[in-house]
């Protein structure tokens, strides 16, 4: 593979604003008195509670067990007492069931898993079981169970590690790659061993030269290739990353394994290394707390269940009233209406946006300029689909492949008429899926 940075078709170039926190080393957040752990943190079936109110739990103890193949268990972020099983504010704005743990301050490990120190020679099945038992999900944002991706039903020849971190503002993966380079690479090697592959590729955007240098220095030892990527949003989207690194196109409605690829996030890789080599389940993650209003933006290692309000407090609070609070980056992050939401396995960033950056737009009619078509990384026609959705012609939208939309928001970002394209496509996808579900019921 050449050294030339690679890219995909389309995309947009928002100001990356990563300088706010890119040079800030990861700090470990101090222990809190209370953690409110949201039970359903993964895509797929929610795990089933195994503790009840009043139970004493140790750090890393199982709180909820997986209820199927596409489901992951949940572990206690610290030692203490289960004081409530109530609903709490979830990241989607709706109330979700959660476990409240009042810490005893000792932060004692329970009986963690047996460390597999000789992982280079361990059985792939044993390693895969560990990934599932440790509750590891895609930590880039989607929260898809990692062990499911490691069980492809089609032949796979390429393992890709996603270190693109294309969302503006976020630097959690960047700091992870700089500070825990070895862990990321070990995780990659473990993934490769599970899949029966010899090598892995790790793709990193060019705006993280220190991470690329650090990775290249150590990559040889673990048989990993480091490939730099153009700074182009959404470079970190699975299908775009595969195209940039291998030139293969995932078919519409298909999965990476259809083109012989498996993609895992770098943070998930580091979590796997921790689970295999040290025997610790997934109970913490690095999250960027950033935005212009934040006094001291930076990167922290938070336990699951840390309230957003505490995270912002740690960053020194705010200089002035922000206009918007997002979980994740500015392009795909979800707006929050409460500070009670807690850090989950897929919370990559906590972003506060000042009022001048929040567009209070009025949508104008489409001027058929085609900029959304150029920007769309999935090569669909946002302008035409938008027309279909406005007329509630969801059947037409489906014919135009709205289901292929990855909701990256590039079209809405580039649209000179400020049309809410992304929201329209979300609506269309929801309606089409609902119609399919209804049909199945009949």
């Amino acid at each position: 593979m050449s050294d030339k940075p690679r890219k995909f078709k389309g995309g947009v170039h928002p100001n990356d604003s990563k300088a706010l926190s890119a040079s800030k080393p990861v700090q470990t957040a101090p222990l809190l008195e209370k953690y409110t752990v949201i039970i359903h943190q993964n895509i797929g079936a929610p795990p089933e509670l195994v503790v009840k109110k009043g139970d004493l739990v140790k750090k890393g103890q199982l709180l909820a067990k997986a209820t199927g193949f596409v489901s992951v268990p949940l572990h206690a972020p610290t030692s203490g007492t289960v004081t409530a099983l109530e609903k709490c504010h979830g990241p989607t704005g709706l109330s979700v069931p959660a476990i409240e743990i009042t810490a005893d301050g000792k932060d004692e490990w329970g009986s963690p898993f047996e460390p597999i120190t000789d992982w280079q020679n361990a059985e792939p099945a044993v390693l895969k079981q560990r990934v599932a038992d440790a509750g590891i999900v895609g930590m880039g944002g989607a929260g898809f169970p990692s062990h499911v991706k490691l069980s492809p039903t089609k032949p796979v020849d390429t393992l890709i590690l996603n270190g693109a971190e294309c969302e503006p503002y976020l630097t959690a993966d960047h700091r992870l790659m700089v500070e825990q380079t070895e862990d990321v690479l070990r995780g990659a090697a473990i993934f490769a061993r599970i899949l029966g592959l010899k090598t892995a590729i790790i793709g990193v955007e060019e705006n993280k030269p220190d991470a690329i240098a650090k990775l290249k220095e150590l990559a040889g030892k673990y048989n990993v290739t480091v490939q730099s990527l153009h700074v182009n949003y959404p470079q970190g989207a699975e299908k775009q990353l595969i195209y940039a690194l291998t030139g293969r196109e995932v078919p519409i409605g298909g999965l990476p394994m259809d083109v012989g690829c498996v993609v895992q996030n770098v943070a998930s890789a580091a979590a796997v290394a921790e689970a295999v080599i040290n025997g610790h389940p997934s109970i913490e993650r690095i999250t960027t707390v950033t935005g212009e209003p934040v006094v001291n933006p930076g990167n922290w290692r938070f336990r699951l269940g840390t309230p957003i309000s505490k995270a912002i407090e740690l960053a020194g609070g705010v200089k002035y009233q922000p206009a918007k609070l997002l979980l994740g980056g500015p392009m795909m992050g979800t707006a929050q209406n409460s500070l009670d939401v807690t850090v989950m396995k897929n919370t990559s960033g906590i972003l506060l946006i000042p009022v001048e950056q929040v567009s209070q737009y009025t949508s104008e009619p489409c001027i058929r300029c085609g900029r959304c078509v150029e920007a769309c990384p999935m090569d669909i026609l946002p302008a035409t689909i938008s027309q279909a959705v406005e007329n509630e012609r969801f059947d037409w939208a489906e014919q135009l492949n709205v289901m292929a939309c990855i909701e990256c928001g590039s079209c809405s970002y580039i649209c000179p008429s400020h049309r809410p394209l992304n929201q329209q496509f979300k609506r269309a996808k929801a309606e089409i899926l609902a119609a399919k579900r209804n049909q199945q019921k009949k």
Binding site: G93, S95, Q336, Q423, R427
Partner: protein, 276 residues
């Protein structure tokens, strides 16, 4: 000159020939239509609301004439009109209970916690963004999707809340399926007492986001004439429509959050500004 005459004659001849062809075809392939269908269609309201379960008034008229349904299935027509149709066709009108729509939420902007929202002004789109801008997960989102769907202008948007006017509502049910929160039910029009809350959450949680939530204090359940006039399900009370309470109940129960309301007074705006 001859050129003009030729052209005129040719066109006239062609016209006459085609007229003959069309006339002959119309006779040969004529479809016999029941004249009664047209008359009944004209007697129906003609709003094509679909409340009868058919694809509009003409389809419904055809169904009546063919005996597949009865005239009283039309929720819009008044009883006299239905009787007229039945008499015209010489059939029985049948009976159907009059219903009207109830939006089971009273959370206007004045009494709920609300975040700014700048997306598509449609409830079904707004529901995908944090479940709507209002604090309650189960309440009216307030972007008038039901009001736009109503063929009779019976739903008024008042301070971010859909309010049904019982006198205008015909009970066609067009609004019911448009609500992403499934807030709208069709209740017997004879009943006036309704619980304007749909949240199954605990009382304290509801009160955090809405001042007019049903907190399941059971005051109305106790004040009712008989035990099962108001049914309680978890943390939410509802009117038992098969054994409804009389309108006095609202006065007697003294609902502390004013979630228990009379539909007519609610539409008239009698409860506005009551909660501070």
């Amino acid at each position: 000159m001859t050129l003009i005459i030729t052209a005129v004659l040719f066109t006239a001849g062609l016209g006459a020939l085609l007229a003959l062809v069309i006339g002959a075809t119309a006779k040969a392939f004529a479809v016999e239509a029941d004249a009664r269908v047209e008359t009944v269609t004209e007697m129906l309201p003609g709003v094509n609301c679909g409340g009868c379960g058919f694809a509009g008034c003409a389809d419904f008229a055809k169904a009546i004439v063919e005996g597949r349904t009865i005239p009283s299935q039309c929720p819009v027509s008044n009883p006299e009109n239905i009787k007229r149709i039945a008499e015209y066709l010489g059939i029985t009108a049948g009976e159907k209970e009059k219903v009207f729509a109830v939006v089971r939420c009273a959370g206007s902007c004045a009494v709920t916690v609300r975040s700014p929202y700048n997306g598509i002004g449609d409830c079904r789109s707004a529901a995908l963004v944090a479940g709507g801008a209002k604090g309650c997960d189960f309440g009216c989102i307030g972007f008038a999707t039901c009001a736009r769907a109503c063929p009779f202008d019976a739903i008024e948007m008042r301070d971010g809340l859909a309010v049904v006017h019982p006198d205008l509502c015909t009970g066609c049910g067009k609004c019911v399926e448009t609500c992403p929160k499934n807030l709208i039910i069709l209740a017997p029009a004879a009943v006036d007492v309704h619980v304007y809350c749909n949240s199954p959450e605990k009382g304290a949680l509801k009160l955090k986001v809405c001042k007019t939530a049903c907190i399941a204090c059971r005051k109305c359940v106790k004040a009712a004439d008989s035990e099962n006039q108001m049914t309680i399900n978890g943390f939410l009370v509802a009117t038992n429509y098969s054994n409804p309470p009389i309108s006095d109940l609202v006065e007697k129960a003294k609902c502390p959050t004013k979630a228990l309301r009379l539909a007519t007074k609610h539409a008239a705006g009698a409860y506005e500004g009551v909660l501070k």
